[in-house]
Symmetry: C2
Subunit: 499 residues, 2 copies
């Protein structure tokens, strides 16, 4: 099959450029020196231009057209073609000079955001954010099909088919159910002591324990590595080189612990992808939402369960005695699950987390609909926080400046975090029919659970989208009710039934 081989040759050039870009971006967030950014951003801009050129070459287009019609393709091959064609269409809508400018800006703006955040001064970041938003909007408008909402174009990019029409009822369900559950719980949980989560803890021993957790989860160090960054993340050059980062705050030991489990979940997904998909367009996890379903499943469903900690809690007490030496496992679990309105999304408890996402979703819609200007964003943010969670940030560092995403140009990305939670709950409901999850956790047999996910989700990489995977695994369409039920069962079980 000559066309296929020609296309693979074509494809591998795009893959190589993409891999280099992934490493350059990872490096920028983890170890590149401060003054490198401007110059390295230029390199990133140029390589993105070259990637766009390769993607839009007549040759690539011709081969993709030919392959799209082929009946003889395997499921995997057809998925590769479909994904590549989607990417080609995305890039075709953006003029070369604008794409170069955008890529360079995205690479340098995280540095500007970081500085603004450090100094707690939104005005330092506002002009860059305005520009990012304006360009992202402009590209989305160009990409939109007739009658299509530009924000929907972006939503679909991060989570296929989950446009406003699907998300509005989803978030509306979450808003009413989660806030009502939170109201029920608040009087009781106020008495739960979590003050020890702010005890001072050696960063070096946190680092060691985070490493221990990664090993415990089965993170394969021959095929991955870890580093540190302000905003933790997971990335992959390919499924034999998966990297995740963490941060270590001496007054918040729980942050590094649950970050390790969260990012470890992302990493296990990437490491679990089959080798016949390596370095192809479907060689990574299928979507942001499905990725979050894995990371948040490990972090919250497993990682905040008392059974998960039975084989580990002694080690934690030994390694961080200053924080946990006099805290029982049950007290630890009650504290790390304690639902309460808080300011920082990444440190939020499992119940309020999706409400943080809701806020960002509503603000993004307003930004895209032209109902909100960037300069009014801090105030709008604070007002939304007050409306939804009943608390108000005292400064932009703990408000609108807390997330890196908009600096990277990732508008439409946030909803996938909430979707991930819902996907995870639906998958968990099914998993419990097949596996004695609590028992396995208590026995330290996390690998059995990971093997289940590998078999049903991880191995497929990008060959199926989230809706397909959910359907295949659970025999049912996406259903957010499982998420709401899961939260209700878990939180009433933890805090109300013991009253």
């Amino acid at each position: 099959m000559k066309t296929w081989e020609q296309w693979m040759q074509n494809q591998e050039r795009q893959m190589a450029l993409q891999t280099a870009l992934t490493l350059l971006e990872y490096d920028m967030e983890t170890q590149a020196p401060e003054e490198a950014r401007k110059y390295t951003a230029r390199v990133i801009g140029i390589l993105n231009s070259m990637l766009q050129e390769e993607t839009l070459s007549e040759e690539n287009q011709r081969l993709l057209e030919k392959l799209a019609g082929k009946k003889s393709l395997t499921v995997e091959q057809a998925a590769m073609v479909r994904r590549a064609e989607k990417e080609r269409q995305r890039l075709a809508a953006i003029p070369a000079d604008e794409y170069r400018e955008y890529s360079e800006l995205a690479a340098s703006s995280t540095g500007i955001w970081a500085r603004a955040r450090r100094e707690g001064d939104f005005s330092l970041f506002a002009p860059t954010l305005e520009k990012m938003l304006e360009m992202t909007k402009r590209f989305a408008v160009r990409r939109a099909k007739k009658g299509q909402d530009p924000y929907d174009v972006l939503l679909d990019e991060y989570e296929e088919t989950f446009t406003r029409e699907a998300l509005d009822p989803f978030f509306s369900l979450l808003k009413s159910e989660l806030t009502s559950l939170l109201r029920e719980l608040t009087p009781v949980v106020q008495r739960v002591d979590d003050s020890f989560l702010h005890r001072h803890c050696s960063a070096e021993r946190q680092r060691q324990f985070a490493g221990r957790l990664a090993d415990y989860m089965g993170f394969d160090r021959k095929r991955g590595t870890t580093a540190e960054s302000e905003h933790p993340f997971t990335t992959n050059l390919h499924n034999h080189d998966v990297r995740f980062t963490n941060h270590f705050y001496e007054d918040q030991p729980a942050s590094a612990i649950f970050t390790a489990i969260h990012e470890g979940g992302h990493a296990l997904y990437e490491q679990g992808i089959r080798d016949d998909l390596t370095q192809t367009p479907v060689g990574g996890g299928t979507s942001c939402g499905m990725h979050e379903s894995q990371s948040r499943f490990y972090e919250n469903v497993l990682g905040r369960d008392e059974n998960f900690w039975k084989p580990l809690y002694g080690d934690l007490q030994d390694m961080l005695p200053e924080a946990f030496g006099d805290v029982s496992l049950h007290e630890f679990i009650l504290a790390v699950n304690k639902p309460q309105p808080s300011l920082i999304r990444t440190e939020a408890d499992e119940l309020t987390y999706s409400l943080h996402i809701l806020i960002r979703y509503e603000l993004e819609k307003q930004l895209f609909d032209g109902d909100l200007e960037v300069r009014d964003l801090p105030e709008a943010w604070n007002a939304k926080m007050e409306e939804v969670l009943g608390i108000r940030p005292e400064n932009d560092r703990e408000g609108v400046l807390q997330d890196i995403h908009w600096a990277q140009g990732s508008f439409g990305y946030f909803p996938s975090y909430a979707l991930g939670n819902a996907f995870a709950a639906q998958l968990y409901h099914q998993m419990r029919k097949a596996l004695p999850v609590e028992e396995l956790l208590a026995q330290g047999k996390l690998s059995v659970i990971t093997a289940y996910l590998r078999e049903h989700i991880h191995q497929y990489g990008g060959t199926r989208n989230s809706r397909q995977l959910l359907c295949e695994v659970t025999g049912e369409e996406f259903n957010p009710r499982y998420y709401v039920e899961y939260l209700r069962e878990k939180f009433t079980g933890l805090y109300l039934s013991r009253e």
Copy 2:
């Protein structure tokens, strides 16, 4: 000037690919996981192919031809064109498929070398080395002009104009002078105690002290960073992102100390290049030899001088008391300069160092002349060691497997180390006329010395070659006599005059 701008646009694509390759290679030696190598080597192969294509494009060739004739170019512009044309010619001689294969092999073979070295088994590395050598030879033969020796093609690549004709008398001078000086010194220096250099020292505190040294030297951390690797090296994405590595052996504290000063010297060179040359073909140091002249000047001429340590030795004793607490500064200096035949080049003293290079030069000539087969290399290596230094490695780990260079395909590179020593001595001879070097060192004013080098060498990047720089700074052609005199003066001063 439209042609210039067109060419710059062309050029920046090559620069971007080269920068990505630099980072991929740096990453592979410092942090990439073990199993990534095969897949990342593929990426490196593809990007090298693309770089070759860009370099050989008709457009690039046409613009270079046009620019080569222009009288209106500045000195810097003319140097950029000259360097780019030389690189174009280099790549033009290698067929695309062979270059891809070669690049991929070079990227994966350092991993094979590292394993063979770890296991002390040359046979694991021999087939890869044979292939590297065969390909390097084949390309050199293609690139050779009529009547030109293929090995000369490679020598010229690392150090312009320094072919066999120049190197044979150079090494012959070193052989007779250095071995005769070593013979004179040996009876005396045998009594010098250097046993404390093998005392056990915490790696973590060595790491801290190495960091202290980098700061002391003026390494700019806003424009550079450090990491660890088995074989220390310095690299640069551009002059605002210069990186060097070190290794920390608990039983050899001096190794990390002098590696820090050596690599720090390389790094200062790159950080000292003018910003109008950044990200151009002349944006890096001019040659391997001139680079080594800087690193070895800092390491040996400055770093092994008693005056250098006057402001620092107390700190060293405080940080590594287990090794140096009871050792006087003078004893330390006598030990770290002690000339004695040894097996490992990178740990060799300043006097015998160039004899290690001589051995590699002679073996490379034999390999290229067809007088030596790869399979006979271990024995030839050991025999040469015995002939020149009078000692024989007990295994290949401390023999033929000790260096990474051949695994990377760098044949013809080694001589530049010895040349660097000689360049450094000639520059030092001139510098002493302008600066009170010993006084400055003793007063901790290293920055004055660095400023001198920055003014006379660093700032120019690749706009002048080594011979031109030497001539401009010293008013004289390259003259290796300064090196021999420097060694005689230093070593007789240190060990004989005190008799």
